[in-house]
């Protein structure tokens, strides 16, 4: 169980980082999603792994699992879901307005000042 969880977190993180480094919005967003899955599983494991145990302490319960990480994961899932939705919208807007899905800034904005599209008048 420990091995499974640990390797799942590791593989998800590695894949996420790889995708984030691709610098195109779609892979990067998938990469951040994978990273957020990894961190969610990691948060679960931070309360120690206990199988088939209730997440509450009550009279007569022999063993229980820590309920707090579950609440944390729930919060983290909601937040990362919302953040992913926002970044998809912003990236979509960026792609539609510049016809380009690269994350990094093209070199022209500041060095290549004779390109007509650079004048900042339109962007204000």
């Amino acid at each position: 169980m420990e091995l499974l969880i640990a390797s799942a977190v590791g593989v998800l993180t590695a894949a996420g980082i790889y995708l984030v480094l691709r610098l195109r919005t779609f892979p990067v967003i998938i990469g951040t999603s994978l990273l957020s899955y990894a961190v969610n599983v990691f948060l679960f494991a931070s309360g120690r792994l206990a199988m088939d145990a209730p997440p509450v302490l009550r009279d007569g319960a022999e063993r229980y699992t820590d309920p707090l990480p579950q609440a944390l994961v729930l919060t983290a899932i909601v937040i990362s879901f919302g953040m992913t939705a926002v970044v998809v919208m912003i990236a979509l807007g960026s792609w539609l307005s510049s016809d380009d899905d690269r994350v990094e800034r093209p070199a022209l904005t500041e060095d290549d000042t004779n390109a007509p599209s650079v004048t900042e008048g339109g962007a204000r």
Partner: protein
Amino acid sequence: MSHWIITPIVLPALLAAILVLMVREHLVVQRALSMAGTLAITAIAIGMFWQASDGTITLYQLGNWPAPFGIVLVADRLSTLMVLLTALLAPLVLLYAMGSGWDGRGRHFHPLFQFQLMGILGAFLTGDAFNLFVFFEVLLIASYGLMIHAGGKDRLRAGTQYVLYNLLGSTLFLFALGTIYAQTGTLNMADLAGRVAELDAGASAGIRVAAVLLLMVFAIKAAVLPLHFWLPDSYAYAPAPVAALFAIMTKVGAYGIIRVYTLVFPLDLEITQGLFDVWLMPAALLTLALGMIGVLGARRIDRLVAFSVIGSMGLLLSAVSVFTPDGIAAALYYAIHSTFATAALFLLVDQIRDRRGAAGPLLVHAQPIEGGALLAGMFFVAAIAMTGLPPLSGFLGKLLILDAAGSSPLVWWVWTVVLTGSLVAVVGFSRAGSLVFWKAHQEGPDIEPIDCETAPEVEDDTAQPGSTRGPLVPRPVLPMIAIGGLIAMLVALTVFAGPVNRTLSATAAQLFSPEPYIELVLTTPGKQIKDDPHAGEDDHGGEAAADAGEDH
């Protein structure tokens, strides 16, 4: 239990909901409500600051749950100081947004502004590490909206970068919190302080990782050198009032470092040895150097100011990483100063960008700016403040930092980098200022632009549409009042440097003896848990549940 502490969080949250749900089509009503709410927060912040100014620490238990189980808000000197700083900045920025019409250039400026305030104030007030994460996310998600307010190609691209960078930062924050929880079993900061100190020094690998991860998270927010890449583009392309409000956002990172590393991971612990003097100090000095080089090399005035923000954060964090009460007090003084100076500069840059027509923010020759005298004077004052020349508060802050650095082993490095950096910044700012305001009057073909050979052609091509804008458009006065207000804050900070510095020294002293804080948080009794099955319901409804849970 007084509910005042939570009002800076609840008020903007409710106001934002009202703004977005009920009056979304009425800009005037939005402006009035938003301003009224922000001024109310300012009043509350002054009250809270007054209450904490004799050293009392006030605790607020959400839902009346006692500390390690429920979330607490704590108002001590540092928190109330940062809340007051935000609450003084916000109305001026809002005034500028209204006066310049920025709030009408896109939708939902005012609700997002209020949510942003809620997140910032909450981050300053909370006493719980996970709650700090939640408030970070609140302020971030609002800042994403504000960042791309009014749209535009460059802004959207900068916004995408900003969001993605911060998403990675949030993930890192969660990894840090998970590690801390796995090692200690708690996320309440006061409780953590006790448990971290009790950890077995032999088995401290996990908590060391957590301490470094957390430092990295705050370093991202504070734009420390290897993690600063998000800042120049975001600040340069963000709408001006938003960039001015973001001046407080880098300070959230600095606040996080100061709070967590005085309370949870104090530097006399074995696990945090070397974290600040070996790692953060050189990183901060490099950040300062990079910021100043950026100021010198920038070809756009908005990027110039953005780099000066990086430089000022480097200076601030080099004072923090001395990590003595003097160092923290100096850092706090400089934080107040640089917040107002940065905000004033970003607003000035927007005015300049607006009035220069097609040349916009580019540092090239262009037609003279109409009404330039007042603007130039203000830019001059703000640049003096930012570069730390006498007589304004930047100089005093820098002096305090240089003085405090005496106890650091790297003192000569600090002195060298800070003083050289100041010189470079002075050169950079005077180059920009003279190019924009002064040399504009010496038009003629024999004057070569300093920085860029291709610029004259650009200017000739694009100056025509710019000059047809008509120079006689009456300029609104509100933006200038807002900028004047920010500069007045700087002057006030200079004039009242003595009392301010005494307050900040007391703040730093309180930070370095956290026992009363810890004792107050952990020993205050909450509600009695009765024996009925519903009493044990969890409290993760957050603030909303607070009032309801009050009378149980």
